[in-house]
């Protein structure tokens, strides 16, 4: 077998193993889905009227605020899913099974690739589920073309890839599953301090640069542009650069840790 075929075969075996875990123990995945759904409902039904006052000069109604929220919630969903990835990577690293994999003549990176592909798939699935909730409570894209929808999904997948690699690295350096969960928490929290819930202009002046220059904001703004027709501007390529940079960083980090002698 050529080395590429070997890599693909081993990685898909590992992917099947991860999906089996997810299917056997859906509670972790469901718990992580709960956060974005609860936040979505909370912001729309409880804080919605107050929050939407800050948007579009105060005249926005509920459906406009849902539309404003959804891109941020989608990213948060991805953040939540990859926390699960960090936990399961950490589980793997602390379990003896990893030592077994390392002594087998399999493609060396296949365990990690399995985690990454599994995590991206799960992220996209989670986004679809949370998106369905959003649609159910009144989210409508204004005038997105099929191409724009595709681009939006592409961007979400790219964000998922970036966050996944970072989460894999976090999972690998964490001494146990709990620590991994905690270390990866910023990936859920970071969207809270982006333009996900209120526009950056509405935040205190000293805080604006933090919200403005963090990776989630350009991605959220790009999604808004694609789905709701707002101005994308430089946010498009900024989002892509962020994603590629984070993916590369997470990949190199994970690889370095993985290649160290265990323990």
């Amino acid at each position: 077998m050529s080395s590429l075929a070997l890599a693909v075969r081993d990685a898909s075996t590992m992917l099947r193993r991860n999906l089996l875990h997810a299917r056997r123990y859906p509670s972790l995945t469901l718990n992580l889905l709960l956060t974005p759904v609860v936040l979505l409902l909370l912001f729309v039904y409880i804080f919605g009227d107050v929050m939407s006052a800050g948007i579009g000069g105060g005249g926005a109604d509920r459906s406009a605020y849902i539309a404003y929220l959804v891109p941020g919630i989608a990213l948060m969903t991805i953040g939540g899913t990859v926390v699960g990835t960090a936990v399961s990577v950490s589980n793997d690293m602390t379990e003896g099974i990893m030592a077994r994999f390392r002594t087998m003549a399999i493609h060396r990176g296949s365990v990690l690739i399995g985690h990454v592909v599994g995590s991206v798939l799960q992220s996209v699935m989670s986004v679809v589920i949370v998106g369905a909730v959003a649609v159910a409570i009144g989210f409508r894209s204004t005038d997105a073309t099929a191409l724009e929808w595709l681009a939006a999904f592409g961007l979400l997948a790219l964000v998922a890839l970036a966050l996944t690699w970072i989460a894999v690295g976090m999972g690998m350096v964490s001494p146990n599953a709990e620590a991994a969960g905690n270390n990866a928490l910023p990936l859920i929290v970071l969207p809270l301090i982006s333009s996900a819930f209120v526009p950056v202009d509405a935040m205190p002046g000293w805080f604006q640069p933090i919200a403005e220059y963090q990776p989630f904001t350009p991605a959220i703004e790009t999604l808004r542009g694609l789905l709701l027709g707002s101005e994308i501007g430089h946010n498009g390529w900024l989002a892509i650069v962020w994603c590629l940079a984070l993916s590369a960083l997470g990949y190199l980090w994970s690889k370095a840790v993985f290649n160290r002698d265990p323990k």
């Binding site: 077998m1 075969r9 081993d10 075996t13 099947r16 193993r17 089996l20 875990h21 056997r24 123990y25 379990e95 003896g96 099974i97 030592a99 077994r100 994999f101 390392r102 002594t103 087998m104 003549a105 399999i106 002698d261 265990p262």
Partner: protein, 337 residues
């Protein structure tokens, strides 16, 4: 890196083809030296046992040979491949059961087996056949569809070894394979190891059970303080220490003194009122002792024959105190020091 002081010629040019050979293997963690020049030569198709007290470096040796960790210096070849430069060649030839459970607890025993089969690139049919056969052989059929995390320690251990055998490895490393197994499972495991060897598989096992090494191993190495303290067949090792003796115990002090006078070349233990007479335990030697006692009209209250076993070798070589053996032949040397 300074070259090793130990002779390294063993690794090449030996008559029997070695499944595993090492020369001058060293490994330290910080300033703690764990392996300090290990030379091994394990002929293909044999069982080699690595004995040693806790912390001797058995697991470290297995980890280096199975490409899990790198040695600091020295050379190691497994199945003709250098562990440092051709780890994949090594991995393709070996099966490893580590000291600690290496099963995926989240999936069932059967799924664990199928996972191994997939990673060995077996066909679907072959995978199912191997899985069924090994589950049967390791008495795991009933538990096959339960998650491995719900298994008892011994069941996990059996699953672990079953997983190692998927893909028919020619060289198998077993790090304490029977620790935590009940006597029946242990004998089963021994039987399985013997079957493997009769199929020509090479087995390197570490163990705490000297009886296990005695039962299974063609050759035994005792690892102590980072070095091989002794190596050979069980009989060779037993011959290394003159541990055989007959022990006589008395209740009455005066009888004890009479006996000590009657049989001269004895080691006395005045407090326990016991005498220790060097002996190989043969019928002839026993008779001569009994004759001398009879002639003096002495009856001992207790007579035990002690032949050296691997325990004696182990304790003698690793310098631990053996319980109930205050006058072990190698002890006086210690006292002089």
């Amino acid at each position: 890196m300074p070259s090793s002081v130990m002779p390294t010629s063993r690794i090449d040019g030996r008559q029997s083809p070695a499944a595993v050979s090492t020369a001058g293997l060293r490994k330290s963690y910080g300033d703690k030296t764990v392996l300090n020049g290990i030379d091994l030569h394990i002929p293909a198709g044999s069982v080699f046992a690595l004995l040693g007290p806790n912390g001797a470096g058995k697991t470290t040796t297995v980890h280096i040979l199975s490409t899990l960790i790198a040695a600091d210096s020295g050379r190691a070849q497994v199945a003709g491949h250098d562990v440092a430069t051709s780890p994949d060649g090594v991995r393709a030839a070996i099966g490893v059961t580590g000291q600690f459970s290496a099963v995926d607890g989240l999936i069932t025993g059967e799924e664990n087996m199928l996972l191994m089969a997939d990673l060995h690139h077996l066909s679907k049919r072959e995978a199912r056949r191997t899985t069924a056969e090994l589950l049967e052989r390791f008495d795991l059929v009933e538990a096959a569809n339960k998650p491995a995390s719900s298994y008892s320690g011994g069941m996990k251990r059996r699953l672990d070894i079953a997983m190692t055998l998927v893909g028919d490895p020619r060289i198998i490393f077993l790090d304490e394979p029977t620790t935590g197994l009940d006597p029946r499972s242990r004998h089963n495991m021994w039987q399985i190891i013997r079957e493997l060897v009769s199929d020509g598989v090479t087995v390197l096992l570490t163990t705490q059970y000297l009886q296990e090494a005695d039962e299974l191993a063609d050759r035994i190495a005792v690892l102590h303080e980072g070095r091989i303290a002794a190596e050979g067949t069980a009989d060779e090792l037993k011959r290394l220490i003159p541990g055989g003796h007959v022990r006589l115990r008395f209740c009455d002090p005066s009888t004890y003194r009479c006996a000590a006078d009657a049989i001269r070349e004895v080691t006395r233990d005045d407090e326990a009122l016991s005498l220790q007479i060097p002996s190989d335990g043969s019928q002839r030697e026993l008779r001569s002792i009994l004759d001398r006692l009879d002639r003096a009209g002495i009856e001992a209250d207790e007579l035990t024959v002690h032949t050296p076993d691997l325990d004696d070798v182990f304790f003698a070589l690793t310098g631990s105190n053996q319980p109930n053996q205050p006058n072990q032949p190698n002890q006086p040397k210690e006292a002089v020091r």
